[in-house]
């Protein structure tokens, strides 16, 4: 058993981070040509979408995971670090894949937009592992996951003939199961008693940190229509916005009322609200552009909200206790994402006028294949990443120091309130 004192990252973190950023800068310098900016109305429209995505990623996901009383600083700050790292890494990855594999990608504002959207699965996965890893381990996880999702994007586009929009929606499912697998592996390698004690004592919430998490939830809730329509044009974009708007409204109402129903005294659980109100937006992400009447997206939001609350109540009975605090992403991003993908497939079959049997079989194989591939890649690469993160060289925090800001931050009043 190693020492219980926090392991210093004084040499480890600066070295890795500076080396990585230097490498990124040199690669950008030599390989990414500078695009001449054309400021027109399309540029401003692209910038608007990019602004929304950045708001969601930095503010929304950052504050969403800050509800633990002793881990608020790390959640918000590490999220920003991961976002910055993931966007740079994905742009480089897209460029190299484009050169090596003849995958045509253009370098302009839209490549930053694609990179930001590709980093969202990383932020989803981080929700499952934040608190148990240090910043160096998160760096490794970001790079591994960005590469895995890059491979998925390439395979989905070349092999399964998916559109970019659907690929990004699969990213929610991929990110959820990647994160769950990493969290499972990290918890598996712990002595059970130590882990349980750490979580019972530190996985607590305070009123103010729950309100900060609510700020993150609200930003995601408000801007989710922008994410679901970011890669669409014209009527499809309009329909995606409308459908997401109503699916989110319905899932918020459903989540609040079902949370009250699931408590013996009818009390609403703020943890349910943090996650479940977003489930409608995740579910309608893939099929939103195909739905032409609002009641379909509202039904999707209703079902997604029910799934989310049901999942939040089940962990003690259905899942390993060690995954308790990370099950939120399974029922917020995993299952609603699967529901959305299946709905997209059904709507595709129903709305296509020239539906021959061969075409239906082809569509079935393609859609189920792409979705299964995303889930399988999430689990396989998550397992590999979990193994990699367990290596001693990253100076992982001891289980007794899980979910503790003191491990990483200089505190203004070390003893106050803790």
């Amino acid at each position: 058993m190693g020492s219980k004192y926090p392991r210093s990252l004084r040499c480890c973190l600066p070295l890795w981070a500076l080396e990585l950023q230097t490498a990124f800068s040199l690669l950008f310098c030599f390989f990414i040509p500078h695009d001449t900016a054309q400021v027109d109305h399309r540029f401003m429209a692209s910038y608007q979408v990019l602004r929304n995505l950045t708001l969601m990623a930095a503010l929304g996901f950052g504050f969403l995971s800050s509800s633990f009383r002793r881990h608020s600083w790390s959640s918000v700050a590490f999220n920003l670090f991961m976002l910055a790292l993931g966007v740079q890494g994905t742009i480089l990855l897209d460029h190299f894949l484009g050169q090596v594999l003849q995958w045509n990608k253009i370098n302009n504002l839209s490549s930053i937009q694609i990179a930001t959207m590709s980093t969202l699965p990383v932020l989803i996965s981080a929700g499952a592992v934040l608190g148990k890893v240090n910043l160096v381990q998160l760096t490794v996880m970001v790079l591994m996951e960005a590469m895995a999702f890059g491979a998925i994007r390439f395979a989905d586009e070349k092999v399964f003939k998916m559109t970019e929009h659907i690929i990004m929606m699969h990213g929610h499912v991929f990110g959820a199961y990647f994160g769950l697998t990493v969290a499972w592996w990290l918890s598996r390698s712990l002595p059970r008693r130590v882990g349980e004690n750490a979580q019972t004592e530190k996985v607590q919430m305070a009123t103010s940190s729950s309100l900060f998490a609510m700020l993150g939830t609200l930003f995601l809730w408000i801007f989710w229509p922008a994410i679901n329509s970011a890669l669409l044009e014209g009527t499809k974009k309009r329909n995606a916005v409308f459908n997401t708007y109503y699916a989110l409204a319905v899932s918020a109402v459903t989540a609040t009322s079902m949370s009250a129903l699931s408590h013996p005294q009818g009390k609403i659980n703020m943890v349910h609200i943090h996650n479940a109100v977003l489930a409608g937006g995740v579910a309608v992400g893939a099929p939103g552009c195909l739905i032409s009447s609002p009641w379909i997206s509202m039904v999707l939001g209703l079902i997604a909200g029910l799934i989310s609350i049901w999942g939040a109540k089940c962990p003690r009975a259905c899942l390993n206790h060690m995954l308790q605090n990370s099950s939120g992403i399974h029922y917020t991003f995993g299952l609603p994402g699967l529901l959305g993908a299946l709905t997209y497939y059904c709507l595709q079959i129903v709305t296509e006028p020239k539906s021959s049997d061969l075409w239906i079989i082809t569509q079935t194989v393609t859609h189920i294949g792409a979705l299964s591939f995303a889930v399988a890649m999430g689990m396989v690469t998550g397992l590999l990443t979990g193994c990699l993160l367990s290596v001693r060289v990253w100076r992982a925090p001891h289980a007794a120091k899980y979910f503790d800001d003191q491990t990483f931050w200089e505190f203004p009043h070390l003893a106050v309130g803790f």
Binding site: A252, A260, M270
Partner: protein, 438 residues
């Protein structure tokens, strides 16, 4: 409330889905063009190119997003100022707004299409958010004293009354109310005050121990204030005509809000015995300029007029918080938790009156009589509707919290164990903790 609230909410949600299935279709470029064409024929305007019509959605969507942030983050966090009611403030805000925007879409759409199927577009989205704003304003008046079921019922009834009044004001009176000082702010405030008056509890006459803020809850409320302040120009210009009208609405609101901040800070210091600032004034009165300038935001008023409106609104609001709220509570038996009368009611009425003055000086083609009728209709329907709603909410079947548990999250929410520690945390941090003045 384990079964009553969920069953009511889910039943309403299912009914909403059925209504949407029956009456709502999405706007497409084709039927949007038809709607615009018929509207232009009625108003005898020239033709616009089809590409401009098609781009309307994408031009207005950023403004809609700003309004959306105001509704959910701005209003939500503005109501977290009570020390033990933060979860309810922001959580019920999300619930009521999510429910209200669905109901608002149905009610306004049916009225404007005279009961037939209607097409949903970007304007419907913006107006749906506007209808939820009235509910959130009224929610502020009764904050802490009601159960979620009561709020759910109030949402349904208030949006129905709001849709009727809004139809009356915009279609029959043809009054100008771009930033909705009258139809949203004055209406929402007086509706809420009427409900609060009916639901008055003699047991809360003396100071309730939970009816106060602490240091960090005031900071959270300031998050809401800042988001409202930043995005208010979008709110006031969202439904203005594109072009000059929208430009004027943005600029006038911007300057009005800036001027309001200066006078609000000045008056807050002036009315306090030792000249210190009151965070309640800063959280609320700094927004009064946006409320007051709303009705005439897109009229051809000069910038100094907008700044004057903002300054006067700031003064009115601070004086209202200092002198009018105690008067309401002690003499009229209306306890206004958030002070919506001072932030939305008085500035809203002032905004309506300012529009009449602006028209008399030839700054708009609207009619003074119709503006006065719109103001009277908004206040009148709000008070009558609020009284009726209050009588319904007063029935003892809606799981109302008892007096001692008012302003307390733990009645409706599973509250973290470390709530009380929050207070001790800040006290131990050696803040200059001044005793509350008696």
């Amino acid at each position: 409330m384990r079964f009553k609230f969920p069953l009511m909410a889910i039943s309403l949600e299912v009914a909403m889905i059925v209504l949407f299935g029956l009456f709502v279709e999405y706007e497409t470029p084709q039927n949007a063009s038809q709607k615009n064409a018929s509207h232009q024929n009625a108003s005898q305007q020239g033709n616009t190119s089809s590409s401009a019509k098609k781009d309307q959605f994408f031009q207005l969507y950023p403004l809609f997003q700003d309004v959306h942030v105001m509704i959910f983050v701005g209003f939500g966090f503005l109501m977290t100022f009570l020390k033990k009611y933060g979860f309810s403030g922001v959580g019920f805000n999300l619930f009521l707004a999510a429910l209200g925007l669905q109901w608002g879409t149905i009610m306004q759409g049916l009225l404007h299409s005279h009961g037939k199927e209607f097409h949903f577009g970007i304007y419907n989205m913006i107006n749906a958010d506007f209808s939820t704003a009235t509910v959130l304003i009224s929610f502020g008046a009764v904050l802490g004293k009601t159960s979620p079921i009561q709020m759910l019922i109030m949402t349904i009834l208030e949006i129905a009354v709001f849709a009727g009044n809004e139809y009356l004001v915009t279609e029959l009176f043809e009054a100008s109310d771009t930033g909705a000082s009258m139809t949203i702010h004055a209406f929402g405030a007086y509706f809420g005050l009427a409900v609060a008056g009916v639901l008055y509890r003699p047991g809360l006459r003396c100071e309730h121990p939970n009816d106060e803020s602490v240091y960090h809850s005031d900071l959270f409320a300031m998050i809401g204030t800042l988001f409202l302040w930043i995005f208010w120009p979008s709110f006031n210009s969202a439904i203005a005509d594109p072009g000059d009208h929208q430009y004027r609405a943005i600029v006038n609101t911007y300057m009005s809000l800036a001027a309001c901040v200066i006078t609000a800070y000045a008056l807050s210091s002036l009315v306090e015995r030792r000249g210190r600032l009151d965070m309640v004034h800063i959280q609320n009165a700094t927004l009064a300029g946006g409320v007051a300038v709303g009705t005439c935001a897109d009229m051809e008023i000069p910038l100094y007029a907008a700044m004057t409106i903002g300054s006067i609104a700031g003064i009115i609001s601070v004086l209202g918080y200092k002198f009018f709220s105690p008067l309401l509570a002690n003499k009229l038996m209306i306890h206004d938790t958030c002070g919506v009368h001072n932030l939305h009611g008085l500035p809203g009425v002032f905004g309506g009156l300012a529009s009449i003055v602006a028209i008399s000086w030839g700054m708009s083609t609207a009619s003074m009589a119709m503006q006065a009728a719109a103001l009277g209709s908004s206040i009148g329907s709000a008070i009558v509707g609020g009284l009726l709603t209050g009588l319904i909410l007063k029935l003892p079947i809606w799981n109302q919290p008892p007096d001692e548990y008012c302003y307390d999250d733990s009645v409706s929410w599973k509250v973290p164990k470390f709530r009380e520690l929050d207070n001790r945390f800040f006290q131990h941090a050696n803040h200059n903790h001044v005793e509350h003045e008696v």
